[in-house]
Symmetry: C2
Subunit: 514 residues, 2 copies
């Protein structure tokens, strides 16, 4: 057994099943070990940003880490944007980065670089392996760190010689520490807040937005009648009958000012204190008004489900809550519009759908339209780094082969990691990719206007326009092995989306936005 | 005038003409300043790796920096792989990274990250701007650092509020320091080496491989009859009548052992002491045998042209050297092969061509085939981070609109930054993209074999194979606005390449490799 084989053995014993990989020369012993040790499924991507986003999507749905395998600093560099999103999502991921042989590193060969400096900003745990003998132990620690709830990105560099050198044995998986229980005082303070005079708002985040947490939140709300909110971009928001409907904290600071009007107390339940994505002249950074009392029931890293159940118990909340009567979404017809897009998806998405939302300005009406939908999971862009939707959908489909994945993707964002389609075809993944083609970075034209540029000049327009040349998404998708269709009316969207949902395997629908 | 406008004014005064950009919200004042201040051409890319590679290609050909404009840490992260190549190439580049407003940063909004940690590994110069008043001064320093010969990647973070805050004036461009002259002792030692008993080998790198340096090398060789070599991957190698032919230092260490046989002295002329790309069991790291005397005439950062001319003068070398009679390349016919590919390109490339080589295993015969070609520049993958060829060709074409660019690209590498084709179409760049489609990461199958895996298992094959699904390069190219054709014989390649060279604007030829 060599170091690489000991690493794979330990990872398989710890329950890691998938390796999202684009290896190079320095990873060859690990590649060979994927054949000599059974139990790990390799998934190839044609660009590392596909794989880092896929690992994020996989981690959100599987609630355990996949491995990634990348080629030195530049290979990892290509994955950084989506690892940034994964860090903000607290997704469990174990990264392996192949490195120069320990004795070769000092020669500063062309592919050598400071991997630690690149990896630290997106990693909650980082280590440089230094010998074959400690390699399987190091990966066991990485897996334990990544798996500690809610999860984190754990990164291990693996020199080539430590992969090929012989070792005696493979380390056992490590015990994964439990998330800390919140104090009785925190529960009591939250209890006092929700039972105080005026309107209390709970803001849910992290594991509070999965089924167990949401059921407790529903019971609390049924007992005390508070407002329920969710952080703007959720790692994973469960929705469906029996679960409470949450208002989304607004994206723009001026909208947030209106949002918190009439609220007398905020309780953070696994959410961070919400802040604006960007600072604007004369606008607030922190979204909750400084005059508003704000209590933390649980931090994102706490055992938030337990804290919510403790709060429900302290309030003597009912054991279960009846489902409100929510109308089923209706199929749209006629011209395409933001309303029609939201309605079509909501009306057609099947039970158990995983909806991956990077639709940016095109899907603003989907969230209200889908309130009455059957059970589904909604994954959002937690870190703001675009090019995440198609990769995340790819990983989510690998984690949940029995569920239909629907990726809502902007054309600008989609072009960042379009290579995802090839992996979807290769693995025959059950993903319907909806690309909303408006031939523009519309959010940037909105932001130009917000920056006071009401009549953008030719250079500003050139940097926000995608229409010249037009991108033929349908041909592009087919060229990478994914069948595709173009739709220009609501009726065509309904027809193609219906077909895409009915048929197994990946497809792409180019939605020509007006 | 605001900070952004002062920055653009200073950059334009310093001679910066092009800004490769993919901006976001935090860069809006800089985008607007590209309209309110004249003289800077913005070039949009649909992915930052396109832009960082384009800035590299531009810098190699223009011998002055372009600016880039990226959106926070994740946007910059997407450019890291090609900035790694640019760092190894010592290309002049000035990066602007938009950052959160100074007063918003402490809130750790979702897109906030440690930009310095990400940027340092690929930057020769780094600064965080902290006020609008110093912004144009900071960019003047960045430009001077980037422009100091041979060049470097200079990175400046620019908080949004420093872009929009008012300022009094724009700083003047800074004086650019000259590269240091080498000492008389270094010239004398090199002189002694080349006139000593036995065979001396000069290894050229950096600016030694451009016209002025090569002319001096030719004169030296004419006088003393030494062997002439060039580092394996050149930033820019000038070739053509009147310039000496250089042997390339081999890639694999075992080939290097044979290469240096019979050599009694090595003189480094702007090249680093060559090392193997990777360490292999029982193979050398440093390619020049430790027993061989090795003298440095000039480091890559020295004034190498002057040093070579001083050496030629010290040797009393002839003022100019006659052109050896080199046969013109012949057109191939029949089946496609490595020979046919090399011959076809060599036979058809026009005078002044810029050949960008990321053909990896498909273009091994091009270098010898093209010895008799008219003047051309050859750009190589200096840092080993793949996905560089199409972007570099894009930037080279912007730097040299009167020259034909020929990109030699592998299918695996090409898929990394395929979005480059869209920018080529948008800017109507004169690039012939040859994609060698063998449906495989062939270099990795070679490396698997070198690692002792003679019968790769299904997982090893899956991680090196690109055939399932087949990538339809012709459709892919057309979908992004670049006309394309597929060729399966040498005659078809000759026909399509001839057409591509004759016609202006970008095109792509999918070369189906046997």
């Amino acid at each position: 057994m060599n170091g690489a084989e000991s690493l794979i053995r330990t990872a398989v014993s710890a329950g890691v099943e998938v390796c999202f990989a684009n290896p190079g020369t320095s990873e060859m012993p690990l590649v060979a070990a994927l054949d000599s040790v059974a139990g790990m499924r390799p998934v190839l991507g044609l660009f590392e940003g596909v794989l880092s986003g896929a690992a994020d999507g996989y981690g959100r749905m599987a609630e355990k880490p996949a491995m990634t395998l990348f080629h030195l600093g530049p290979g990892f560099g290509n994955g950084i944007a989506n690892f940034h999103n994964a860090r903000r999502a607290r997704s469990p991921i174990v990264n392996l980065i192949g490195d120069q042989a320990t004795w070769h590193r000092r020669y500063d060969a062309p592919l050598t670089s400071d991997i630690e400096s690149l990896a630290r900003p997106v990693s909650g745990w980082f280590r440089e392996n230094r010998s074959a003998e400690t390699l399987s132990h190091d990966v066991a620690e990485a897996i334990a760190a990544a798996t500690t709830k809610p999860g984190c990105v754990a990164t291990l560099t693996v020199p080539t010689d430590c992969q090929w050198d012989p070792v005696g044995d493979a380390a056992s998986p490590q015990l994964v520490p439990k998330a800390p229980t919140v104090t009785i005082e925190a529960v009591e303070k939250a209890c006092a807040a929700v039972t105080s005079e005026g309107t209390t708002m709970l803001i849910a985040g992290g594991y509070a937005t999965r089924r167990r947490g949401l059921e407790a939140i529903g019971r609390i709300a049924a007992q005390v009648g508070c407002r329920l909110a969710v952080e703007t971009f959720s790692t994973r928001l469960e929705r469906g009958p029996g679960l409470p409907t949450l208002e989304r904290v607004p994206y723009f600071p001026e909208a947030a000012e209106a949002f918190f009007e009439g609220v007398s107390h905020v309780v953070l339940c696994g959410a961070l204190d919400p802040v604006a994505f960007f600072g604007y002249p004369s606008r607030i950074s922190r979204l909750v008004p400084d005059t508003l009392p704000c209590t933390t029931l649980a931090k994102p890293t706490d055992n938030i489900e337990q804290a919510l159940e403790d709060l429900a118990a302290a309030l003597d909340a009912p054991a279960s809550v009846g489902t409100p009567n929510r109308p089923a979404p209706q199929l749209p017809t006629g011209d395409l519009s933001l309303e029609a897009v939201g309605q079509a998806i909501a009306a057609l998405q099947p039970e158990g759908a995983i909806v991956v939302d990077e639709g940016i300005t095109s899907v603003g009406r989907y969230l209200p339209a889908s309130v009455g939908c059957p059970d589904h999971s909604l994954l959002s862009l937690t870190g703001g780094a675009i090019g995440w939707g198609l990769p995340c959908a790819t990983g989510a489909a690998i984690a949940c082969p029995d569920r239909k994945v629907i990726a809502l993707e902007g054309d600008g964002s989609g072009m960042y990691t379009v290579q995802s389609l090839w992996t979807q075809a290769r693995e025959n993944l059950d993903v319907v990719n909806l690309v909303f083609a408006n031939d523009i970075y519309r959010i940037l034209q909105i932001e130009l206007h917000r920056a006071g540029v009401d009549n953008p000049g030719p250079n500003s327009l050139a940097l926000t326009d995608l229409s010249e040349p037009a991108i033929d998404w349908t041909s592009l998708s087919k060229s990478l092995g994914v069948p595709a269709a173009r739709v220009e009316t609501a009726d065509q969207l309904v027809e193609e989306l219906g077909k895409g949902i009915a048929e197994p395997g990946p497809c792409l629908i180019e939605v020509r936005m007006p």
